[in-house]
Amino acid sequence: MNPVTPRLGEIWVYLSASPLLGLTLTLLAYQAAFWLHKRCNGHPAANPVLLSVLALVAILWATGTPYATYFEGAQFVHFLLGPATVALAIPLYAQLARLKRLALPLLATLVAGSITAAVSAVAVAAAFGGSTLTQLSLAPKSVTTPIAMGIAERIGGLPSLTAVLVIITGILGAIGARYVYRLLAVKDETVRGFALGLASHGIGTARAFQESEQAGAFAALAMGLNGLATALLVPLLLPVLAR
């Protein structure tokens, strides 16, 4: 027998037990996805999150690696979501003057958008025969992953399913917002950013930053505010949502 094969097998056993592989794979997949995204002239459909996730799922599935093993390495990237969320205060601060002027429109939009996101998600799922667990997991889908998971847990949804639905919502918003804006002739960067951040949290925010600094800052604001608003509103809306 070829003596190289068992050696490779041993190396694989060693590597798959260490967090190095999951971490490195995440970074490699993302950089390849980002390269492809740029090659497509930044087209929203070539979304880096979507491409990375597809590549990683394919690799993990092909090698029979459980998600938990992968996450032991990927958690180091996942952890950075916390400090990155805090860091959103800085672009937000750069928009302070505009923020003060727009406080009232922003607040009204926030409440209306937050309720629309939760109620429409649950109502449409119910209309198409989704289970109660699925409906409850969908309610917080427009807010950033850590908040959404917390809300799902509180209202009796499935936090890990919510995390996935949140990511898909983010990707859909990042890809689809430009078509909605074109249809409605929305051109103001402030409005484009705020609505996208409200509906599609951090992934929408990342997309808005590619459009302009101003759109990105308002998307970050909407994401933060909608995290708060949804955390407060969804538990209150629960009697209406879960029927």
Partner: protein, 120 residues
Amino acid sequence: MLAAITLLLVYQLAGEVIAQVFALPVPGPVIGMGLLFGTLAVRGAVSDELRGTANGLLQHLSLLFVPAGTGVMLHFNRLADEWLALLASLLVSTALTIAVSALLMRALMARGGADEGRES
């Protein structure tokens, strides 16, 4: 860079502690963002170091969602069973939320006549 990262972590930690102590439904990092925003608004300036570190972290914000997104593989069964309800819900709700928010905000801003750069 080290000082800026430490600062971000301190604010996150403060946010987590506040969320725990007051049993708030809002996660710590979001409270940390609010605290840092408040601090900057009071101080009236951002150091170059903090701005540089924040930009570096936010430049590849998308990367940070990849590990959670890969968790989709845990839910293939449910996704296969309920794909129509999920897809319809996510598509309709996301588009509707963007449309409602954009239209309302544009209308309110036009009424206030507040901002520059709006289409006529």
